[in-house]
Symmetry: C2
Subunit: 222 residues, 2 copies
C-alpha cells in the first residue's frame, strides 16, 4: 500500500508536501509516497524530500505502471499537464488496480471524460486560478483566506472530524464547546454535501461529520 | 476604466464569469470586461458571453496593449500559460498604466520574479491543484468545501464586509447578530491578515473588516 503520484511540475511537489504533512499530523495513514516522473528532465525540475522514492518512465506505458506497483497503490494521483494522457492513464490504472484515482486537468472540458474513465476526483487547476484572479479584483482578503485554508503549511486549516458526540445538539452549543474545549471553530457539517451556515439553534443531524477550522499545527497556532 | 483579461484557456473563462457575477451582485463596479487572446485559435477554444469585447493580438507587443487601452484599465489580469511571458507583460503593463496587475503563474518559482516585476497578486494555479489533490486523499469533504466556497456560481460564498458597527463587540455577539438578522455566518475578520478562529468573547478590533459566509445569491440560499 503506497501513495503514487504521477506527473510533473508544481502540482507534484505541492501534493507530496501536503501528503507528508498530513502523515506527520496523523491524519493520513503512514505509507510510502512514490513519485513517477515522465522523464529525467522533469524530475530535475522538482524538489522532493530525500525519503521519497522516485521513478522515471512513460506513464502511458503499462510496464512503467507495473514497476510503480500500481496494483498495490491505495491512491494514484495524476498531474500530467496533458488531459488526453490523463484520460488514458486513468483508464489503465483503473484496469490494473482498485486504487482511487485523483486527477488534475487543465481544462474544464475534460472533467466529464475523466469521470467517464473512472476518476474519483477531478481538479481543474486553471479554473480555480481563474476564480481567484477574479476575487483578487473585488475581494483580495478572500483570496488571502482561501490561500491560507487550502494550505496546511501555514496559518489555518479546514478539516473534518467525526461528529457523533454532537449529533442532536444545537449548532451553537457545538460551536461553543468545540471552541472552548478544543480551540476548533465549527464551520459547518458534511452530510453527503457541505452544509455551511445552518440555523444556530437547529440540531446537528445524525450521520453528520463536522467541518472545523483550526490554527494549523506547524505554526503552533493550536 | 475597464477590466482587461489577457490570456488563454480555462482560467480566462472562469475569471470572466466570476467577474460578471460579481458585477451582477453589485460587489464589483460596473465596467466593461475586455479579453485579449494571443491568437484566433485560442479565442475559439474559450466560450464567452456575447457582451464581452474580444481582441486578438500578441500581448508582448506594445501596440497590442495600447489597442487594449491598458493605460485606462483599472485591473489587468494575466493568465498566459507561460511564466516568462507573464513577467515581460507585467513589466510592460506597469510602465504603461497604473492598473493593478493580477497574474496566474504555473510554477511556484516564478512568484518572486513576478512580484519583482510589480505584480499585485500572483496565483500559482498548479500549487493549488496539488494541495487539493492531496486533500482529496485524506479529507475529500474539505475539497468539496473549498470547491464550493471558491466559486460564486454555486452553493456558498466567502465574502468581506465593512465591520464598523461591530468594532468593540464580542465576537460571539457579532456572530449571533449577523446570523439572525442577515443570515451571514461570521468566519473571522481581516486586519492586515486573516484572523480566523479568534476567542469567542474577545472584542472585534477597530479597523477590522468581517469575513463572512453566505448562501450564494444565484442558488437562492440567501
Ligand atoms: Ca493553512
Ligand atoms: Ca460557492
Amino acid at each position: 500500500n503506497h501513495y503514487l503520484v504521477i506527473g510533473q511540475g508544481s502540482s507534484v511537489s505541492t501534493c507530496v508536501n501536503e501528503l507528508m504533512s498530513a502523515i506527520e499530523r496523523g491524519e493520513l495513514k503512514l505509507a510510502p509516497i512514490v513519485v513517477l516522473f515522465p522523464s529525467e528532465e522533469e524530475r530535475k525540475k522538482v524538489e522532493l524530500p530525500e525519503e521519497i522514492e522516485v521513478l522515471i518512465g512513460d506513464p502511458t506505458n503499462r510496464e512503467t505502471l507495473e514497476r510503480a506497483r500500481v496494483d498495490r497503490a491505495s491512491h494514484v494521483i495524476l498531474a500530467l499537464e496533458d488531459d488526453s494522457k490523463a484520460v488514458f492513464v486513468t483508464l489503465m490504472v483503473k484496469r490494473m488496480s482498485n486504487a482511487k484515482v485523483l486527477v488534475e486537468v487543465l481544462s474544464e472540458d475534460s472533467v466529464e471524460l475523466l469521470k467517464g474513465a473512472g476518476a474519483d476526483r477531478v481538479i481543474v487547476s486553471r479554473s480555480l486560478a481563474g476564480r481567484l484572479l477574479a476575487s483578487s479584483v473585488f475581494e483580495p482578503e478572500v483570496v488571502d483566506v482561501i490561500d491560507d485554508i487550502t494550505s496546511s503549511v501555514k496559518g489555518y486549516d479546514v478539516t473534518v472530524m467525526d461528529g457523533k458526540e454532537f449529533w442532536g445538539r444545537p449548532y451553537i452549543a457545538a460551536l461553543r464547546e468545540l471552541k472552548e474545549e478544543r480551540n476548533l471553530f465549527l464551520l459547518g457539517y458534511y452530510l453527503g454535501a457541505p452544509v455551511l451556515n445552518p440555523p444556530l439553534d437547529e440540531p446537528i443531524p445524525e450521520g453528520a461529520r463536522l467541518i472545523v477550522l483550526r490554527g494549523s499545527v506547524s505554526t503552533g497556532k493550536l
